[in-house]
């Protein structure tokens, strides 16, 4: 589910939606209007797919929580719950901001350039500043898997540390509303390229190791060792 989300997200939201990279905050209203009017069809398609497939992030998160639950043997399942909520609520900003971009592409010819600009801005502000929801997912995941007492942990400890690191790195997004150009702007090297790449890498790494963990749990269950 995770990689499917990722692929669709990149293709639909990113490429078709003209979000990779994001349009510069330095564009004028007229430039933004021109963008929406000329690319309306493509943006619409991209956003429709983006909205349809956004939920996969939650489904993916559910599989992670199921693995986490096998380690929560003392009845305290707050971390697995935080993870699934974090993953689930990450879907919301993706859905909502995609709907803003979609709105911009719906009848751009009738809308004022400043409104089109606002729609684009609003979408980015939402998706970026919702970072903490995803950070919670990453912290919960990392902390829980680090507490694994097995000799060989279910998920390698470095994956947990990477997860926690990405969760922290997202904090740089708080600078995004203050800058229209440079590193910290929505299209900047830090707040776009680095932040999104480390998120995508997180999705891939966690997917790989969750699949391995599931396989291992199934083997152990078959051998009569599961709880």
């Amino acid at each position: 589910m995770g990689p499917i989300f990722l692929v669709v997200f990149i293709v639909a939201w990113g490429v078709l939606g003209y979000n990779i990279p994001p349009l510069s905050p330095e564009w004028t209203g007229d430039q933004m209007a021109h963008h929406f009017r000329t690319h309306a069809g493509v943006v619409r398609a991209g956003m429709v797919a983006s909205m349809s497939f956004a939920v996969l992030y939650m489904v993916w998160g559910m599989s992670i929580t199921k693995v986490m639950e096998t380690l929560e043997t003392d009845g305290n399942n707050i971390l697995s719950q935080l993870q699934i909520w974090g993953a689930g609520l990450t879907v919301v900003p993706i859905l909502v901001s995609s709907s803003f971009w979609l709105t911009g592409a719906y009848r751009p010819e009738a809308l004022d350039p400043s409104i089109l600009q606002m729609l684009y801005d609003m979408a980015w502000l939402l998706i970026d500043l919702a970072y903490s929801v995803t950070s919670v997912q990453m912290f919960a995941l990392g902390v829980l898997f680090l507490s694994d007492q097995r000799a060989v942990p279910l998920i390698p400890r470095w994956v947990s540390w990477y997860s926690i690191w990405v969760g922290f790195m997202f904090i740089a997004e708080v600078l995004m509303p203050y800058f229209k150009s440079g590193l910290f702007a929505r299209d900047g090297i830090l707040n776009f390229w680095i932040e999104f790449v480390i998120w995508f890498v997180f999705i891939l790494i966690v997917t790989l190791y969750i699949l391995k963990a599931i396989a291992r749990l199934e083997r152990e269950h078959a051998a009569g060792q599961s709880r």
Partner: protein, 197 residues
């Protein structure tokens, strides 16, 4: 039935001498390395501005900050050595002093920031200060996390057995703290010295 195949075992052996926190350290150090380079690249656009802005920083506070972190790091090392010898009292003593010294960093940082803000200098003032506040700010967040980690570990160290996995956590906490020190060691000349040399 067997929990691990050979690759896992050998990885476990290595894990003993390279705790998994090194992944976090690597990622963070690489990220900061990139920030340093981005800072220097931005500087080439207007080096005179960067130099003159840098001169507005109080270099003595920068030096004090460096000495504080270096000393705090050293004390943490001494504490870990005590822990390895199962000397709980020694560990607690050294780490308490390390945290007390480290707290000085927060004091000087507040003084510096307060001084800048009172003169109307913020992240939006110019490119140098954008980087100054970003770099020192994100470093300060790391510092706060480090202090919290040291504090948490210290409290648990009063009761945890020192010959088990807890020693590993202590070592990891120490490694993270040294990273905070190391990053500042690199930041100090870039922000405080380069402009006035």
């Amino acid at each position: 039935m067997i929990l691990a195949r050979t690759p896992d075992h050998s990885r476990m052996e290595n894990a003993k001498s390279a705790p998994a926190i090194w992944t976090f350290i690597t990622a963070d150090v690489m990220a900061f390395g990139m920030f340093f380079v981005l800072f220097m690249r931005q500087r080439t656009v207007d080096p005179a501005l960067f130099n003159s802005a840098s001169m507005k920083l109080d270099v003595r506070l920068g030096v004090i900050n460096t000495l504080i972190l270096i000393t705090s790091s050293w004390l943490v090392v001494l504490g870990v050595e005590r822990a390895r010898r199962r000397d709980r009292a020694g560990l607690l003593r050294f780490w308490a002093i390390a945290m007390a010294v480290g707290a000085g960093f927060a004091v000087t940082k507040c003084i510096e920031y307060a001084d800048k803000f009172s003169h109307g200098v913020t992240m939006l003032t110019n490119d140098f200060f954008m980087f100054y506040f970003f770099l020192t700010g994100i470093h300060f967040l790391h510092f706060l996390v480090g202090m919290a980690a040291l504090g948490f570990l210290w409290f648990k160290a009063r009761v945890e057995p020192l010959d088990g996995p807890y020693l590993g956590w202590l070592e990891s906490g120490g490694i993270y703290w040294h990273m905070v020190d190391l990053l500042w060691v690199m930041l100090f000349p870039l922000l405080y010295l380069m402009g006035r040399a």
